[in-house]
Structures are given as structure tokens and as C-alpha cells.
Symmetry: C2
Subunit: 541 residues, 2 copies
């Protein structure tokens, strides 16, 4: 075998911040802080402080591959840690503070975190877990010295660590397969599982994520990541920002409509990214106050499907192009983005919207397929739906500390999603595998059923789960929360389905409840509902 004769340059996360400093040294990082003010620094500052923090980690005894955890909002200090921790060879472990403290303690212990850095918003969590987290040697409060809170836990001030250490630091070179960062899945069933990224997977994902057919990020952008840095690395945006030298605007803890809109306008933000619920809050605020965007030209929406009405409102009323995207923790996270093709340029606005409602095409590097119950490939006709499988260099192979378990099917990762793929390669999620209702060999999408339910004016929230059925195995049961003071009967609701879906897909029964349990990322916990209704007897059964 003849090898190519190009340079052996390992892919490294430190290259991102070195590049940003060298080529975009004066580009700005703007952060709304827990201290209450707006903080400004540059990539040059951020790189200098990241080097100081890398030295600080050394003084704290952090070794290569040991884990340094964060419980933090989106801000410059968090971004410094992204580069200081991974760049120095340790593993950045971002924790979702919305999890229950017991779960957080479980994760910290599982990851064997040596240092935990946190925004003081989360001090109560730290105080609740500190005694149970023996691996953590240093608890670092990410706040100015003069704002350090009193605490029963012995705290180290982030700024003291910075100030006590030199900015002379050479980022080490290492194998590009070295572990760089660790995220735990939110784990609606069982314990959370750790996904361990490498420098290689992160860099390849960053290249792919910035492409014009993905997030389309450039040095001309001012990016405001609403998606949290504890949620799959804010979909990779801190890395993408450094690669492109884009201006970054961090919203901190203030994710309400007014705070976000103020920041979008004041900092001339061009692009943002987040889940639909955040956008709902922003749009409601803007509608009520007759506001517009001056500089925002697009937003990335993922996490869950973007409601068609939101997509249309953003584009038609606010001139903000919506980029529908899909991914998961096990995918770093990006899998698909819904960008158009050359053949779509002549479509009418309505026809374009029909394309944009889908989760989109794979980003180059990711391979996907849909399979039926027998594992055989299903056609890409936009109608057949089956289990969605993926593979590629930024897709998980094993879970952390579960190296003896193979989570793959013939080398493909089963996403747990059920989807269609159309002839142009546009994928649309129709359900979660475990939520789909398997009625007599036919699959019914629980999401389709829920979408019809919430389109009824009296319905606040709806979950469709399967109920046992002697003949059909499973049949759909609809669990509904009514809006305050609204009235609707089971019969009225079932009648509402007529003409909207096939007759055999209409739920067999409706149950009204006061509330539906939600998980840490705002998703309905259908497994809890299934548990609750496991002995439920359908009237038809």
C-alpha cells in the first residue's frame, strides 16, 4: 500500500481556538452574565484565559483523560472551559442542570469528575450533591471574586484560578482519537448513558456543521446559541464559532422573550439556534409588542419538530429563514438539516414550506436508512416509515463504561426514531420507536395523533400511547390535558379526527388528566404514562 505524502496533522480541538485567536483575534464574545451585566471579550482574550485555565487544571492535578464537569449557562467562561479542558487533553463533561440532583450526583460519580465548574444559579444543586460526590476534588464557582457566595461547600473562585496562572501554555499534541468530551443522554428510561466524543469526531462534525448545506456559518455571522452548552455542546456551535471566527452572543440564564429580543437587536445577531418552546416564548413576546428583527436572517430549530405555524410565522412575518435540523446526543448531534436543492429554487413559497417541514437531508459524513420490523431496507418514497438507523465518524459506537455492550445493529446506530425518507433524501420523523403504536402489523404514529389533538382549541397537551388489545396487539389511547376552563368531551374529540387521518388510526379511547409528566428537556415522559395506564382496558377490547 502506497500512503499519501501529505502532512500528518492530527485533528485537535485546540486548533480551533488557536485559529480563532490568530485570524479573528478581535471578533467579539458577548455574554449576559449571572452577575447581571453584559460582558465583552474577544477570541484573543478567550484564548488567553483558556490557556490560563489549562495551567490551572494542571495545578488542580487534572490528568490527561480525566473528567472536568460543568453545570453552567451559555457564557464566555463556559466556552473557555470547552477549550481549556479538551485542549489540554482532559475530558469536558457538560451536565444538564435541569436533571434531578440525585441524577446529577449519579452522573458525576459515573463520570468520576475530578473538578466541577458551575454557575452560582446552581449552588443549591452543588450543596445537595457535594457530600455524595467523592471523586470531585474542586468545586469551582464561575463568578467574579467579589460576588462569591457563602456556602457550606468549600468553593474555589474561577477568576482566582485564572489570575493565579500564567497564560504561557503550549497546547499538547496527541492522537486525534483521544476522548475530548462527554455528554449523558437524558435517559427517560433507566440510568443516563455517557457518550464520549473524540477530537477527531468533534472536528469532523464541526467542518460538516458549518457547511452551506448544514448550519451555513461564516465569519460574517453573529451567532446567538439559545440551545444550551450543556445540551450536546450547544449542537456544536462553540466549535463552529471558533472555526469561522463568527461573533458569539451568549444569553446566559435569561431565555425569556424580552431578554432574547433585546440581545438579538443590540448585538446585531444574524443567526440563532434552539428548540421550539424557546421560540414560542420569543414570538409571543414579539407579537404582543409589535416588534421585528433588524439583523436576524435565519434560525436553526431542532430538539423536536418545528410546528408548521411557527415555521411559517418566522419566515413570512419576520423574514427569518427557518432551518429545520435533527440529531441526537449519540450523533454529536447533527444528522440532518433541511436545506433546499437546486431543483427547489423554482418552487412556490407553499411548495418550499412543504419541504421545510421535514427534518432534512443528511449532512455529508452521516449515512442513514430506514428499516422495517424484519430489518430490511424500506423504500425512500416519503410514505413508508420505519426505524431510522445512522452511521458515520461522529456517531456513537459504544456507551461510556459499557464497552461490553454493542448498541449497534450490524454497524448502524438505531436512533430510536421512526421516520420516512422521500426520493430526494429528505427525512421526516414520524415517531419515537418506543412510542409508535403497532396495530395489527400496521404502525400508527403517536405524534400524528397528538398533532390532531392539540389542533383542537380546548386541548392544552396530548399524549398518545399504546394500550393492549386482544385482537390488534396495540391500539392508540389518547391522554389529554384540557386548557383552563375549556370543555371538550371524548366524543367531540374523536369526531375532530374525522377526515384528518385514516379511520383505523383514530384512537380507541380518550382519557382526561390534570397533567402529563415532563422530563428535563421538556419532553413528555410517555413511559411514565404507559406505566400509569398499563392495566387500562380499552372499551373496545
Amino acid at each position: 500500500m502506497l500512503k499519501g505524502l501529505m502532512m500528518d496533522t492530527p485533528l485537535a480541538i485546540s486548533a480551533l481556538i488557536k485559529h480563532a485567536d490568530r485570524h479573528h483575534g478581535d471578533a467579539q464574545i458577548v455574554s449576559r452574565r449571572v452577575e447581571g451585566d453584559i460582558h465583552r471579550c474577544t477570541y484573543r482574550d478567550l484564548h488567553r484565559r483558556a490557556r490560563q485555565m489549562a495551567n490551572a487544571l494542571g495545578t488542580l492535578g487534572v490528568q490527561t483523560s480525566e473528567r472536568v464537569a460543568t453545570l453552567a449557562w451559555n457564557g464566555y467562561r463556559h466556552m473557555e472551559l470547552y477549550f481549556a479542558v479538551s485542549g489540554s487533553g482532559a475530558v469536558l463533561h457538560t451536565i444538564n442542570p435541569r436533571l434531578h440532583p440525585e441524577q446529577i450526583a449519579w452522573i458525576v460519580n459515573h463520570a468520576e469528575d475530578k473538578v466541577l465548574c458551575f454557575d452560582i444559579t446552581f449552588l443549591p444543586i452543588i450543596e445537595a450533591i457535594a457530600a455524595h460526590c467523592g471523586t470531585v476534588k474542586t468545586w469551582v464557582a464561575m463568578i467574579d471574586k467579589d460576588r462569591m457566595p457563602p456556602s457550606k461547600v468549600s468553593l474555589t473562585c474561577y477568576e482566582d484560578l485564572i489570575n493565579a496562572n500564567s497564560d504561557r501554555y503550549e497546547w499538547p499534541e496527541f492522537d486525534e482519537n483521544l476522548a475530548s468530551s462527554l455528554c449523558y443522554t437524558s435517559g427517560t428510561t433507566g440510568n443516563p448513558k455517557g457518550v464520549l466524543y473524540s477530537h477527531r469526531s468533534t472536528l469532523l462534525h464541526t467542518y460538516a456543521a458549518a457547511l452551506p448545506d448544514a448550519l451555513n456559518m461564516s465569519a460574517r455571522d453573529a451567532i446567538l446559541p439559545v440551545v444550551p452548552m450543556f445540551h450536546v455542546n450547544a449542537w456544536g456551535l462553540p466549535y463552529v464559532a471558533a472555526m469561522t471566527g463568527a461573533k458569539v452572543v451568549f444569553p446566559g440564564a435569561a431565555l425569556d422573550g424580552k431578554s432574547l429580543h433585546d440581545l438579538f437587536e443590540a448585538e446585531r445577531v444574524t443567526v440563532s439556534a434552539g428548540v421550539p418552546t424557546v421560540w414560542q416564548g420569543l414570538l409571543t413576546y414579539m407579537e404582543a409588542n409589535h416588534l421585528k428583527f433588524s439583523t436576524m436572517n435565519r434560525t436553526v430549530i431542532g430538539g423536536s419538530a418545528c410546528p408548521p405555524a411557527m415555521l411559517r410565522l418566522f419566515q413570512e412575518k419576520y423574514g427569518v429563514n427557518v432551518l429545520h435540523a435533527w440529531g441526537m446526543t449519540e450523533m454529536s448531534p447533527l444528522g440532518t438539516a433541511c436545506t433546499l436543492k437546486n431543483k427547489h429554487l423554482d418552487l412556490s413559497p407553499e411548495q418550499r414550506l412543504a419541504v421545510q417541514y421535514k427534518q432534512g437531508r443528511v449532512i455529508f459524513g452521516v449515512d442513514m436508512k430506514i428499516v422495517g420490523d424484519d430489518g430490511g431496507d424500506l423504500p425512500w418514497d416519503g410514505k413508508a416509515f420505519g426505524d431510522l438507523l445512522v452511521r458515520g465518524p461522529w456517531v456513537l459506537r459504544k456507551y461510556f463504561k459499557e464497552e461490553n455492550v454493542d448498541p449497534l445493529r450490524d454497524g448502524w446506530f438505531p436512533t430510536g426514531d421512526v421516520s420516512t425518507i422521500d426520493p430526494d433524501g429528505y427525512m421526516q420523523i414520524t415517531d419515537r420507536s418506543k412510542d409508535v403504536i403497532k396495530s395489527g402489523g400496521e404502525w400508527i404514529s403517536s405524534i400524528d395523533i397528538e398533532n390532531v389533538a392539540v389542533s383542537h382549541p380546548a386541548v392544552a397537551m396530548a399524549a398518545c400511547i399504546s394500550a393492549r388489545h386482544p385482537k390488534w396487539d396495540e391500539r392508540p389511547l389518547l391522554v389529554v390535558v384540557r386548557k383552563p376552563n375549556a370543555q371538550v368531551t371524548k366524543e367531540e374529540l374523536l369526531k375532530h379526527y374525522e377526515g384528518k387521518i385514516a379511520k383505523w388510526q383514530i384512537p380507541d379511547d380518550v382519557v382526561f388528566v390534570d397533567s402529563i409528566p415532563l422530563g428535563a428537556t421538556g419532553k413528555m415522559l410517555k413511559n411514565r404514562l404507559r406505566e400509569q395506564f398499563k392495566d387500562y382496558r380499552l372499551p373496545s377490547a
Copy 2:
């Protein structure tokens, strides 16, 4: 060391064409052929024929890492070979047909090509070299069966190879460092040198080249590569096209203004790429015929500096944004692209043009620096100029079959260019290292001197070379070709310099000649001039 737990997916060129087929199967590849017609196929067709050709290469006895050469225009068959050859594990060796046949024979023998595929335009070259190229077992004419030319060389028809072989072929998996393709530098001094790319370097280059801050290519584009596929893989465009699924329009042999403009319009081309001389022909034709572009929105200009007047004409009159880019064979080839930053968005059109005249910022992955005579770093102030050095995963480490020679300086590749870099990281080439005139410790850019000369209405072409000087070591000597019937004296020309450059930089003498020798890529062969004038005695010396 803890390794990440993501999939081990080697980067492979075959993944590009698989992706294009699977996700953009019906996107078009349009080619103006040597047969005279316009040919249309899709990525699906191209992938099928590439698989057939991969099988054909097997039947011809081509083994892993053996070289398959091409002497061909830009067209679909050439693109098929890009994927068939590299994808099957062999090495694609693209040869510049503008070289002298003796040089071509030398290159074929040096590369030990086993198969050579050529457009029949180049049959005279084949007939001249065949007897001297013993390694070549099969000469493949890339033409329809019924148009096969008579020849004294035993020829195989490309279409026969396709038709005789099945399209059942599984692209093999291999180490991503496997050699994939080979280009020789044009070699203005000494023998040409081979640059051996790998699957890894090619894929990383492709990701980087498609970025919004580089060529900004997407599935919405229709790309017309004017830059030849025998010239550093058409700057990587065939790979970028497959990665993005863009429509591709190949101009074949017809690079005159009318043929190009017709194709731009008929195929709704959005973006093109080429050297300034081709654009000059196109613009002259369009000016004369009062034509416009309907769909072209940008063009990439590289190979040599884009004249400011051309940049302005493209943008102001034709609404075509110019992307100035720089690279070299040893860099796959892309090093920099001149895209703007967020801070430039408020500049006036004139101020933006001033940025765009430079060759631009590095594409992420490439690292650059400028050094002085002592090897020390020079400041990035836009004024200091020195030798430009680069490094990165798609930069050459060794030349092919010269593994015992280290062409690097402390791990950096010396580009042979002299440049400035401004505080924003924008690089501007001021000269070639070997062309710069070193006068008493100060460097004088030969290009600056030439630009002033050709701005004189009577000057057709001008080359500035160094002449020996007892006191200053070197002083500039200007060699000039006058326009037909134009008159200008040495004194008038030297007077023309006053106020345009510093007095000490003005040439010491002017020599008028009938012609200046040009190389295969249209560049002036200054080493020939230096040889010719090596005993020249300056009047001041």
C-alpha cells in the same frame, strides 16, 4: 489514554460518490464533449459507470496503489475516473496536456502509469509518447465507439470498457492515508515533482473547500469548473460537487468567451472558477456583444492575482461577486479565500474592494506565517513581506519518490511565494521568492514593478528580473514587449514610475524584446529570462 467511543469510519473518496448518488441521484452532470454535442447524465448514472469502470480497471490488471493517468478536458468521463480510480484503491494521475510531449513522457515514466485515459484531442501526444512509455499497458480513448480514431497506437475504447463490465461493485474500505491521486507541479525549474494526495487529505480539503468562508458550495449551486481537472483536480471542485450534490456543468475543450457564456446561460450556472486569462476572454466577448449573466452570482479567481479592474468589472457591471483565492499543487490546492468578516459588513463598496484585492484568509485547517531572511516571524501589519510558509493536513510533506529529501523548513512548507499578511489575517502575494529583487538588504517586489509597466498604454507584457550589482547585490531590470505599432522609450517608461513607487525601487534599466517565454500554465518563465540576461551589465554598475 481514553479514546473516544465514536465510530471508526475512515475518510474515503468513494463516500463522496455514494453520497451524491444516494442523496442527489437525479442532479445533473452536463458536459460539452469532444464529440461536439452536449451530454447529460446524473450522479446516479455517473456512479453506475464509475462502478463499471472500477471493474474494468480490475480486468486491466490495475492493482491497489498503481497509477492510472488521464490527459483530458473537464467532462463526465473524467469525473467518472476520479471516483473509479481512487475509489477502487488505485491512484488517479491527472496530467497537464499543455506540457511538452517529452515532459509528459517523463512524467508518465516517473509515475509508472499502468493505464492512460485520454480525450482524442490529445491523440497526437499519445502517438508521440507511446513508444517511450513502457509501463503503460492500456491506452484508453475517452470517446464513443463509433468515433474511435484510427491510430498507429493500439487503443481501447472507454465505452467498450464500460459496456463490458458489470455495475455490481462494492467500494473497498481501506486506511484513510492510502494514496488517492497524484499531480505533478509544472516545474519551471528542473524536472516536475509529484504531489501524492491521500483519501484523508482529499476529504478534509473537500469539507474545508465547501465552507461558507471558502468556496461556499451547496446543493443549490450549478458549478461550471473552467479550471481544468488536470490542474490540481480543478481546485477540488469534482469532490466538492459530489459532497454537496450540486449540478455540474463541464465546458470540455471550448473555453472561448462565446462557448462559456452560452453554457452559463443555457445551464443556469450559479458559480464558476478559473484563472484570470480565461475570464479576460469571457469579459471581452460579453462587452463586445452587450451580454449579461442571468444566474451567475459569483466566481472564484485564482492561479494568479486577479487584476483589480477585472474584479471591479465583474462585481459592478455584471453583479458577479469575485472570490479571490490562493493555493498551490502542494496544498491540494486551497490555502486562502478572500471572504469578508462581520466587521466588514458596514464598509463602503470601495473599502470592500480594497479587502477583496488580497488573496484572503486561510481556510480552517491551514496554518500560515511569513518569515524574513533569518527565518524569524514577520509582523502581520499588511506591510512587511517575507517568505510565506504553510502547514496542515492537506499540505505536502514529501514529494513522490523523493522520500529522502525533506522539502519542509521546521515542519512548514515553503510556498515559494512572498507575501504580506494584514492584522485581520488577509494575505497578499507580493512576489515569488525566486523573483523578488534583493537590493542592499531591502526586498523589491518584481510584480509591483511589472504592474506599473503594464499600466503604460504602450506595454503589452513586462517582466522584472534581478541583475547583478556590485554595490546592491541585485537591482531590478525591466524586460518589456511593446504592443504592436506602439512606441515607448526607456526614458518615458522610467518616468512613468515616478510617484507610483519609491524612488529606490525604480528599475535601473529597461530592455525591449520581441517576446517573453511562457510556461504551460501561461506564466512568464522568468528563469529563462534570468538565464538570457545573466551576463547583462547594468548601466549604473
